[in-house]
Subunit: 329 residues, 2 copies
Amino acid sequence: MANIQEVAQKAGVSVATVSRVLNQHPTVTAKTRLKVETAIEELNYEPSMLGRNLRNSESRLLLVLIPSISNPFYTEIINGIEDTAITNGYNILLCDTDSNPQREHIYFNMVKNKLADGIISMDPAVDMEKLNGLAMQYPIIQCSEYDEKGTIPYVTIDNQLAAYRAVKHLIKLGHKKIALINSDERFLYARERRAGYEQALREFNLPIQEKWIYHTNHLEFEFGQQAMRKLLQTDEKPTAVFSVSDTLAIGALKEINAHELNVPEDIALVGFDKISFSNMTNPTLTTVSQPMYKMGCTAADMLIKKIHNKDVESVILDHELVIRESTMG
Amino acid sequence: MANIQEVAQKAGVSVATVSRVLNQHPTVTAKTRLKVETAIEELNYEPSMLGRNLRNSESRLLLVLIPSISNPFYTEIINGIEDTAITNGYNILLCDTDSNPQREHIYFNMVKNKLADGIISMDPAVDMEKLNGLAMQYPIIQCSEYDEKGTIPYVTIDNQLAAYRAVKHLIKLGHKKIALINSDERFLYARERRAGYEQALREFNLPIQEKWIYHTNHLEFEFGQQAMRKLLQTDEKPTAVFSVSDTLAIGALKEINAHELNVPEDIALVGFDKISFSNMTNPTLTTVSQPMYKMGCTAADMLIKKIHNKDVESVILDHELVIRESTMG
DNA sequence: ATTCGTGATGTAATCGATTACAATAATTTT
DNA sequence: AAAATTATTGTAATCGATTACATCACGAAT
């Protein structure tokens, strides 16, 4: 790979002139520009981002932190981020943190070292303290999950309201024994969705029963199955289940079927996220739709603004309850 | 963010000594090491990758090119890559190329510019010519999809044999009218799997009927539905379907159900990839299992070897036909 | 006491770009 | 035609690290 020196030599000019051509400075003569451009062409030269970044302290790269690539919830968000980034001349790099602090540390360092210009964090398990510290010096946005006590701008939905509506929908269908499959309440979204669940129950004077609330640390299908297995073992089986994630709900559906029970006749089921697979199950899954693509776009917009030192405000986007077969009697 | 100069000043030593401490050179006195380490501590200093990379021409970053993050097929492979990379002191960056040459170009440049040390490409739609050109100078490995005419080392499975076995399994069950849902035959895997399909039919003297071969450009569920709709419209309906991807098969299953037909009684179904969803459908999906995690590990191992200038040979891993409910009569 | 050897540290070049400032060439003004 | 002005281009410092080589200090050998 040729460097700027060789181009300069070949074109018979100084490196400064080559750099000016590269950066489209208007002061360069058409003739010299041509010379340089031919030299670039002939040497197949491409400027080194390393040298450039070191000098400019800018990489035009955005980091997107996700806990796990296997969660389909993130795919549409990422598409939104990517489209917006590219429109603005940025590129994104996906970072699968596996909720591992050590990996996170590496990605944090990439920003400190100017290898990236900013971070969009979607990892609920991120070290909030570290993230807040980093955010004092570097552009950071949180997407979906955020720190209520922190000062980092975020884009999300009203999780409590969404859960409330989902459970209210079940209550309106006549259900009185409604279970909750929740994830780890270390996470804000889990706490908020539980609050929404309880809010709905209280509003209709239904008791909140611990035996119908199941917590799981993982979001994979199998954990939904496991959750449902437990719930079916309770002395009084629930007639409806609200799950805080589609993947868990799909696992639950599988388990319900395995017990020769039917959805929605025996047990109604509501998920959360509207992942594409939720429309492929039989029955199709009632779920809460988050505007994922828009969320991604908004997050990217906010980050880019922040990089340019503009002020940004947190955003709460609308959600929607998508009623499908799993709650249609 | 402090730099090495400031640390040197604070510690009362030269930058060379600081660098020596950072790189654990044995020649530094315990006393000076301590001085430097305290200074690093106090200034909260972290060495800049940019400066280091520029000097060392090494980033210890690997690029992983995937066409789309939404395809669950890649998740386990990526886990394998990531685990292996980290064990060897490398980190990975996921690049969602969207099969877009312009985006690819950016990622190719990152390697040219030493922002990354090598590439694992999993994009079937990658510009093979460019990739081959790049591979003459930079470490590149192909995973899953590869260029049969090129010289880039790859890791994959025997796609033709796998397809042959899948279709033979259907024939052994007594099926004579077997359809194929294939993806774009620009891709090698699609051509190979079709070859396996035809090989099995020929071996058992079954005619190859164009009406039962459907091509689709996308792998999302909806395209599987669309494919199946077409196949059900043919004058003579197939009694079995082999789909080159689980996502397409799951879409097909949905469509079959929508027509009030049953799997496997009316139509048997075989997918490919053993994605985690394929065990959540009802009935569960017979599919071809690729050793995805191992594939990822192998690819990462090969790439790291290549970065260290060792010779690497292409690898063909074993596959397995996983028989589940969708072909159990 | 002088010389030598060894180990610890410092000096300065280097990687590949950008850019302030200097220098030169081209043009206009008088 | 000489001076003044302006348009191009070149020189060299800079970003933050690494490292070959130079230097220095100190103890051992003679």
